[in-house]
């Protein structure tokens, strides 16, 4: 399998949000606007690439029975690192996403890729896989956030285009998240079937 295919697989065929349906908690909760979705996606991408690389490097020396605790320690380390860095250098973003950053530890995508891919492949392949799946997650979250922002607040990346008026509030709140996710999933899978 070529490296490029690994990346595009994560984006389309194994898209974590629309096809694998993993990591729904941050997906639904943080996509109130395109920029929030994008930053949550990038945060997960960062953790995913690094944890995939680290885990593929240490996998040969990790005894089978303790591999889950070891992986979780590794993932938690990267997440905490990310949290400290965001707090220090992007405090505004940390405030919006703060609650959901620690939750990346238990995001099934990260542990899922470690289990299903990284511990069986080399460092470079695992990095590509992490990049692909992470980009897939980022794109899905940005699109979902964009749709919800347009419908819910009438703006695009914070730029308001309907001038002062409110959008349809429901889309900023939880019910709208489920509705948008459902419809986007239908469209995405219809497109996949066609090809």
């Amino acid at each position: 399998m070529s490296k490029l295919k690994m990346i595009t697989d994560g984006l389309v065929k194994n898209n974590p949000t629309f096809v694998l349906l993993l990591g729904m908690c941050p997906t639904l909760a943080t996509t109130t606007s395109a920029i929030n979705g994008l930053s949550m996606g990038l945060a997960t991408l960062f953790v995913l690439v690094l944890s995939n690389m680290a885990i593929s490097a240490i996998a040969p020396v990790v005894p089978d029975k303790v591999h889950i605790p070891v992986y979780i320690v590794v993932i938690a380390t990267f997440v905490t690192l990310l949290q400290l860095l965001m707090q220090a250098y992007t405090p505004a973003m940390y405030e919006t996403l703060g609650l959901f950053i620690p939750l990346i530890v238990v995001n099934c995508i990260v542990l899922g890729r470690a289990e299903a891919f990284a511990n069986k492949h080399g460092v470079v392949e695992s990095a590509c896989d992490g990049l692909g799946v992470g980009l897939g997650f980022t794109c899905s979250l940005t699109v979902l956030g964009l749709v919800r922002e347009i419908l819910g607040s009438g703006s695009v990346f914070g730029y308001n285009f309907i001038g002062g008026n409110d959008g349809m509030l429901a889309f900023v709140m939880a019910p709208g998240a489920f509705l948008c996710l459902g419809y986007l999933m239908v469209l995405f899978n219809k497109y996949l079937k066609k090809n």
Binding site: I58, P63, V70, V73, V74, A88, D166
Partner: protein
Amino acid sequence: MAVKSNLTNMVAVLGLTCLFCSGVLGGAYVLTKEPIDKAAAEKTNKAISQVLPHFSAVEYNEADHYYTATDGDALVGYAIESTVVGFGGPLSLIVGITPDGVVYNTSVLSHAETPGLGAKCTTDEKFMNQWKGFNPSIKKLSVKKDGGDVDAITASTITSRAYTQAVENALNVFNTLSHE
């Protein structure tokens, strides 16, 4: 997974992983501590400068959650933190009060109000501007619906009431301060 799962191996691998990871995080904590503290201090300073006129130094009173702002020897005013329960959770304000007992300005520190409704307490200019120079000895501190002089945010009476309550709490703190 070439290594056998016997006790020595498991303890060694898990132990070493934890040790290494704590080392990395300890280092990162030390490196980021200064910027994090700086960012937090900047945020408070920004919040205070929003709600009070020009000042040169602030002093924090931890017991009653207020800042005393001074410019040289002169007292500029107090920036009082005030937290009440809003519609969606805690609503934290910082209220700037000048020594004559007039509200200079207010600013929201954190809130959990409904986006598009109560959350407008951070964006609705008409609502926010009425606090600038709010004199509690002339105006009645409660929303119009309750017979006061505060214009509520449309469709967000509960948030507006909570906001008003928070300002009142801050004024109460101010009153005990100025009587000391």
